[in-house]
Subunit: 201 residues, 4 copies
DNA sequence: AATGAATGAGGTTTCATTCAT
DNA sequence: TATGAATGAAACCTCATTCAT
């Protein structure tokens, strides 16, 4: 019943949302360049021309997908930190949230954590700017950790994010849970892997 | 005379090589889908139709680029291991070679270490197969290390390769050397980052 | 209250008039084919769909612009003849009025004195018919002049109107006044330009 | 036989020429904006895509049409002056050539003597520049005539050219010959039309 | 070994217009 | 009186590819 009510309430916004979802899905599956407006329109159940009532161009659609995706992942990751304390524990929580969103959260999350497509200046910088804003969460998390001297927090952050973001290339749903993967990544960095007796050569 | 000999000898090879180089460059810069045969031809100094003398189709060009790139990076990484001993030292040497090739070695290396383009079955599996063959080097390197019990070598390998392969998204030439980055990545994993006195929370 | 009355009285007329003006402006500046309903609507401060409340189609808008423009120029030219006598003086007065309207009177005048756009039958003939009606003023003015025998009044009229109507292609506001140009055109035809002593070769 | 030989000789250039001709024809008949590449291609007996082998864009086709048309009309008008003497006679010869070309010489001549279409900067200025170059012929012809003092050669030229260029709006083939019309235009300006006894009011 | 010329399919986008509200 | 949302058709143009030479 609540559902029925919601359906009627949603209707005005439905089409735009469907469109965005269809676009995100195609961008993720085939890449931006290989996603045609025709296919995206078909995925949203409308005519290609109708897209242009909602978005002025294909690249604007891309930007809108990124806006939505980054809004969502920011909410997910920041939300996972509420009430969590202990610097390593917080980092782990953020990584779990990030990786779970990316690997199991749906197309919007994946759409934003890819190598940015080859688009012209303004759109590209808007996308980069939004991503940097999100990644600032991790900058702050690493600042809070008491690392050994001369640890390079910058490279460390990119190492960790790279390891996570690359995972969509090999992750297969139904095998190891994203949470488990994230825990391992953090543990390996925190504890190190040199066996006490074997030396470091 | 030596020149004349070289000219005649090189020419046939040259054109094909130029073409492959131009293709790799476009694939890296704009992605496979956004790279047109026209632009690739222009980059190689020939007419679009002339490409088809050397390669039967665009996707074959892609496969050839991957063949060449993987041949090169295999040679680079395997070569860097010759005469090197100590399991962690060997891993470090391989990472240095891999990252240096990727970030400063030219377009062929970058062309192969990207998320694989959205192409049809046969080409895709050929590319995947070649990549797996290369990454087997790292499988073996990790087998040789005496890790703590219940270390997940599989996830560890993908973590390390992901961190490295993602680096092309943020690396800027002229700043930190790839070798330095690689050393850090390995050190962090080997030694861990939890400060002795601060605890692991 | 006067305001309220005015508002209610003007509004309906206003929007239609604004629309017509915006259409005339676009037709003049970009031509009929290159003027989009979207742009015209924007120029009139309304949505494209709203045009169709006032006019059933684009071509009807064109016809309406011509109706308004020809109404205005007929009024201007015929008005300029009231109380003027002397056949050459009357012709001159008409030419001054025509050229002043065309070059400085605003978009409606220019909209109607252009090569007629490539539209289908009915609209085209309606436009032609209205123009012929206007040009009849000049037919009558020339009938009243006592020309040398075998003067071709038909070609003469078209020569004079052609010279005037073409002027929008080279006229630049702020330089010579339209009135001055019109006087010259008439004077040259009336008095001729062969210098008395130089012969006519 | 000569014909057959010519046909085989012309072949390489044929397609481009046909294309230009078809474009000129459509531009003249429907205007630039209303001429579609599809229709032009059909007129030239090729596929729309094939146009782009010869010309990079629609606007380049327009410029090429103007280049060809202005080349032709310059040749026609300048050619008509060879061996002709007497300043008025020369002006008359030029007007006959101009008007004959325009009204009976085919689409290229008409294509260039129209109000220039609403195209972007570079193409527009190239077209204007070429036209000015052609009209310079008339500048020189008028300089050679010994007019009454204070005759405005500038306005006179534009009056004459306007009268001629406008004629395509009313000229119907098969009635009065262009040559006859041109003679009248020049005669009226040379001799004037005020009847000796009637006065100039 | 290369290319000039062409093409069918499909790309993104704009068009005039409709219609329920 | 106006418009938000949509659409079928068509716009210009690019695509990978072909083929005779």
């Amino acid at each position: 019943m609540a559902q029925a009510a919601q359906t009627t309430t949603d209707k005005p916004r439905n089409k735009r949302a469907q469109l965005l979802e269809a676009a995100a899905e195609h961008f993720v599956r085939h890449g931006y360049a290989a996603s045609s407006m025709r296919d995206i329109a078909a995925g949203a159940g409308m005519q290609p021309a109708s897209i242009y009532y909602h978005f002025p161009s294909k690249v604007d659609l891309l930007v809108a997908v990124h806006e939505e995706g980054l809004r969502r992942i920011t909410q997910a990751t920041a939300g996972a930190l509420i009430g969590v304390s202990g610097p390593w524990t917080r980092l782990e929580a953020a990584c779990i949230a990030h990786l779970t969103a990316l690997l199991e959260g749906g197309v919007f999350f994946q759409a934003v954590m890819r190598e940015p497509p080859d688009v012209a200046g303004e759109a590209r910088s808007r996308i980069t700017e939004m991503r940097d804003e999100y990644e600032a969460i991790f900058v702050r998390l690493l600042e809070d950790i008491d690392f050994p001297v001369d640890t390079d927090r910058h490279d460390l952050r990119l190492m960790l994010l790279g390891a996570m973001n690359w995972s969509f290339t090999w992750y297969r749903s139904g095998q190891e849970a994203p949470e488990s993967i994230a825990r391992k990544f953090v543990a390996y960095l925190r504890d190190g892997l040199a066996a006490p007796l074997s030396g470091r050569d």
